[in-house]
Amino acid sequence: MTNKFVNRALFVTLVVLSLITLPGVSRAQDKVKITFWDWWVTQGPAMDATIADFMAAHPNITVEKRTIGGGPYNDTINLAFQGDSAPDVFVVEDTNLFKSYIANGWVLPLSGLPDFEKWKATFPNPGANFTNGVNVIDGKAYSAPLFVQGPWLQLYVNTKVYKDAGLVNADGSVKLPKTLDEMIANSRVIKDKSGGKVYGFGVSGTQGWAQGWWWWNCQMTSHFFSVGGLDGFNALTGKFEWSTNPCIKQDAQALVKMRDEKLIYPDASIDDEGARAKFADGSFGHLIGGSWVIAGWSQTHPNFKDYTATTLPLVGVTQPGGYFYKTPGGQEFAISAKSQHPNEAWELIKWLYGPNMGKTWADKGNGLTFFTPGTSDKYATNDAWKSIFAMTPLNIDGPQPALRNPNVSKVQFTLNGPDPNAVLGGILSGQITDIDAALKDLDARMTTALNNGLQDATAAGTKVSLDDFIFKDWDPTKPYQTQPTSSMAATMAATATK
């Protein structure tokens, strides 16, 4: 019996072996196959359509798309490069890591490719779109921005819920809240008019990143600023101000008040998608999210039209004290330096930065690219898109420490204990009751993390200091042009050759 078992195992192994063509044996192909990796899930249908169009226009090229959603995307890219299995074309997710990739020689400079200058000239503002220290390193361009960006978060309002509660202006439009106070007042009306069945606000109770969006109410209230992931860092003073910026505490207290008044939908507490589904059902009136929720609804709730978007509510003030800040330049797509088919990859890049992709992207409800043909009105297919397009000017250039001193990307920021998102989750769930203490603790831990990071980098011979994160001449209400220091070219060269 045992021998039979062994024989059978052997037999099965051999059969399976013969079934599976082991890798390394590449078959002769008429077509060139290139691989493309992204991490876009809601945008998947638009990307699929774009790539299908590209292949139809380039019958000799096959593109194999792979989507690696969520957290492991960067790990995947990193290991793939180390293992010589990197994709030909990939979406750039993390700016700092992208610089490491460039320094490692993993990314193909676009500058040397045929017609590069001609391609560059198609950009709306080539001078700003290709910025030294961001996507141009040592005089070579490695990637380029593509999307027309507005503030990345909006407040979504269910217009049917508003209308049912009588929250309408004389002209029949809904009374969109501008401030947090107005939003809470409207929430009370919604709750009362519906007899307690419909709630004011809904948020995931389990996904910290979704809860943390609430903090961004302070972005436009008081230039709540993020430097290299250091949320709540004031670039004017060089200090974290979770406990000192009055907006933060008011924002948190408002959430607690809404929770205690039972204005927050109790069962939207599972995940962000559940919250979105309940919002579409009309279970509550307000939801915070980015423009991807629109594409999401078109997939899960295609008949849901009764919503619009507005800016995040202001906290304790009636006039904005800040904007959303972006980096000049930017990166979306890049080619692997190890690509066997750089010319085909380049064709794909040009297609992605072109009118076909621009149109498909907008048609499928993902917003505009630089190359979307026609005016934005054409793609403002609903109220939400209309107001999101109108918000574009609220996204202005902000200070970029890495532009002034590229070494800041070498500072590793390891925060011990809960991050701001988790702190908000703790406040919402009632596990944190002393908000002041929690915010003070957050400041202390974030300061320690930054100091440790700077100290470790300095000890390892990297020239970097806290001053690199401070911009005394910055006016948060105006676009800011970060001035590269004179020694930057030399530092960049050193980084690139390392």
């Binding site: 957290g71 389990t206 599972i270 995940d271 590793q412 204990g417 809960p418 991050d419 769930s429 000890a459």
Partner: protein, 323 residues
């Protein structure tokens, strides 16, 4: 040849062969073969287990994002940070709670059910065994995703069913998140312990029961004087692995609750994962992954587990001696 055959028939063959070939040669050939047989194991363990462990030790002294070579030396600071981080100890406490609640409940239930199902006359015994074992053959990650989806979509219904107020899903409740993780853990691995105990029960020689029946022992006496003492050594091994497995709990918490809400159900492996992979995986947006820190936390935890294991072994040995 013929003399050989004759010798074999007439005398102790081994002795003769040893006489014909020098003793050490026979023995050496067996030793050589012995080492050859063990060699593949040793090589694989050295290369794929020991070396990587040693390799990861160095990393604990550095900041490292997994790219390039680690250059930022921090000494033992990562260990100090781990030891001082209340959230590490929170995760540690949750891991111990998980173990302390799951192991006794699961093992006593598994033993009871094994005693019931160990009867050939019991109807549907194979059916029950099959059903209870079903989660075991399912990938932990996939099972956890399925249960998470189920409780996420139907959590409120679930709470209403049990009269929990407010009607939020147990996996989003600060009080019920960890119990949910424990229940899921019991659900998923109960079957394997059931099978272990059923196997252990089958090692009890039938003659012992026959003898006991002759002596007029009743069921309870048979259980206490024959069954339990006989399976005791095996039960200790089952206990040992249950404890070890529980201390390494990961997916049960990571997939089901994400360690939340606000770390209410975070376990040590989840804590380590958050630092190894960065991002906001478990509510910590460490902007860049710090594998150095993660390795330090991992080593720290492993030393604790090793300590618990040694204590467990000592206690088991002393109780065995006592009995």
């Amino acid at each position: 040849m013929s003399s050989d055959d004759a010798l074999k028939r007439t005398a102790d063959a081994r002795l003769v062969r040893d006489l014909r070939r020098p003793f050490w040669s026979q023995r050496r050939s067996e030793i050589t073969w012995g080492y050859l047989f063990v060699l593949p194991l040793i090589v694989l363990v050295l290369v794929f287990t020991i070396y990587p462990i040693l390799g990861s030790l160095r990393i604990t002294l550095y900041n490292w994002n997994g790219l390039d070579n680690p250059t930022q030396f921090v000494g033992l600071r990562h260990f100090e940070s781990v030891a001082k981080d209340p959230f590490f100890w929170n995760a540690f406490k949750n891991t111990l709670t998980y173990t302390a609640i799951l192991v006794p409940i699961q093992l006593s239930l598994a033993l009871t059910l094994a005693l019931i199902l160990n009867n050939a006359k019991m109807r549907f015994r194979t059916f029950y065994r099959t059903v209870y074992f079903l989660p075991v053959v399912t990938s932990l990650a996939i099972a956890a995703i399925a249960v998470r989806l189920m409780l996420g979509r139907g959590g409120a219904q679930f709470s209403q069913l049990f009269g929990i107020d407010p009607p939020i899903s147990p996996i989003a409740s600060p009080q019920l998140a960890l119990p949910s993780v424990i229940l899921f853990g019991i659900w998923h691995s109960f079957g394997i312990n059931l099978v272990y105990f059923m196997a252990a029960l089958q090692t009890v020689p039938e003659e012992l029961y026959d003898a006991a029946k002759v002596d007029g022992a009743n069921g309870r006496q048979q259980l206490l004087s024959i069954t339990l003492p006989t399976i005791r050594p095996l039960a200790m091994i089952i206990l040992f692995f249950a404890v070890l497995g529980s201390l390494q709990v990961f997916e049960q918490s990571f997939v089901l609750t994400g360690g939340g809400p606000y770390f209410a159900s975070e376990v040590v492996s989840g804590y380590i994962y958050a630092y190894a992979f960065g991002g906001s995986a478990v509510g910590r947006s460490v902007t860049s992954a710090n594998i150095g820190y993660a390795s330090a936390a991992s080593l720290f935890m492993s030393l604790v587990v090793l300590g618990v294991t040694i204590i467990q072994a000592i206690v088991l040995r002393s109780t065995r001696k006592a009995s």
